[in-house]
Symmetry: C2
Subunit: 238 residues, 2 copies
DNA sequence: GGACAATTATTTGTCGACAAATAAAATTTA
DNA sequence: TAAATTTTATTTGTCGACAAATAATTGTCC
């Protein structure tokens, strides 16, 4: 309840340079979880009141978010939560698939025992959310699972890009989670298990192939959600 | 104290929100061109004097650079120009090669006439710098050439990552350009021509293969520079 | 003389305030 | 009444200043 979270009056003196990080991470999560809807304006003074901070650290956090593409700043005008770019979803799917493959390959190649343990832990969490029909939890733990694989691969450039893509994917999936089909997720659990096995066996070619199939699966599912969406103008980037 | 700063008294009233962009771009170039050497400290007040701006916009530019990984901020302590990470150069080469291939493939697939013109223009610039033995110009125009190919491919995620990788490569190459061998560059000109031909012919497989060979060529050349470097402790990340 | 402690100095992070730029409202005018 | 123009209001970008955190310096004691 009264944790050190956002509320009007919290304990101001947390630490010296931690305010910006807190604001950044909080807003980042809210954007990814669609608590802040795409296109909605960001009011600096409102945020400064909410976090009990001056506008300066708020601004710094916003610059970081803008550098990541999560918010868009119209100079001298408003700054808004970035829209999901439905027109270029193909780019997104292409890059996502490539990162699925490359990171899984590298994991099979470079992983160490502790990595497998972490991957398995997130896979357990994923299986749990599937069993509980917790769709939002599924989306999050699936993301953690693949980020863990990327970390086992070790290439920091891939880790960074892949993380961004997966988080962007979380935004997209949240838009359509209402139409989630309860039968498919179990298949993902199985596919994850196979991917883990291929990584442990250091079978690079198999890991690559499984990742590709897995990615195609997810991409086509998202696409089916989008095309099944009946809301008028829902696929327009506004 | 009063040493020669670029332009002490320039035209202050440029435009309202353009100060940060100017500072950002200027510093970015200086970092990439190694005018600001890795590890050297960034003094905010010194910069604010140099650009005739308050510390606030300077700070904003620095946050952007930090988000890109070009500078490193030690909280409450100094902020320095990021070091070149020689220990993980393998990651860099791997990601660079992948982006070479993927962007060239996509260019063969998606390019339009105006893209070819732009690519050819940068290739001409590259050939010119090779003829003039202008090594620094070579490095820059080679980068522009491949960024143009990435833009012809059209995938914004690849464009962004590739640009960052190529700029990081500029930093590395600048460290070793003194030992440049004058015979090899001509080969790059030829390889570039072949890549353009493959793109124009929309031969995706050939474009991919040429890009791979080209990337391997460059990677092995950089590696030979590094291993041939005789400076003591030169390969240490300090 | 060297190690430790206290003091000073420098630098960073944050603040409140002001001015430019834009949006919104009010007024005028045809 | 509607378009155009002036006035007001809101919001962003920038500034100078202050306080916390750290580094540098000095002083003290063994």
């Amino acid at each position: 309840m009264t944790k050190t979270k956002e509320k009007k009056a919290d304990q101001p003196p947390l630490k010296r340079g931690s305010g910006v990080t807190h604001v950044y991470e909080t807003l980042r999560n809210e954007i990814i979880e669609l608590k802040l809807t795409p296109g909605s304006p960001i009011d600096e003074v409102q945020l400064s009141e909410r976090f009990s901070l001056s506008r300066t650290p708020i601004r710094e956090a916003l610059v970081r978010l803008a550098a990541e593409g999560l918010i868009t700043t119209l100079t001298n005008r408003a700054t808004i939560v970035s829209n999901i770019d439905f027109l270029n979803l193909g780019d997104f799917f292409d890059a996502l698939t490539l990162m699925y493959r490359v990171t899984t390959r590298l994991a099979a190649q470079n992983h160490r025992p502790e990595h497998v343990a972490e991957i398995q832990a997130f896979q357990d969490a994923f299986a749990r959310t599937v069993a509980e029909q917790d769709v939002l939890g599924m989306i999050a733990s699936n993301r953690d699972f693949h980020v863990a694989i990327a970390k086992a691969g070790g290439n920091r450039y891939y880790i960074e890009l892949f993380t961004r893509l997966l988080d962007e994917g979380r935004r997209i999936l949240r838009l359509y989670y209402s139409s989630f089909n309860d039968k498919l997720p179990q298949q993902y659990v199985t596919e994850h298990e196979h991917i883990i096995a291929a990584i442990v066996a250091r079978d690079i070619a198999l890991a690559d192939e499984l990742a590709r199939v897995h990615a195609d699966q997810i991409v086509s599912q998202i696409q089916s959600y989008i095309s099944a969406d009946t809301r008028p103008n829902a696929s327009l980037s506004l």
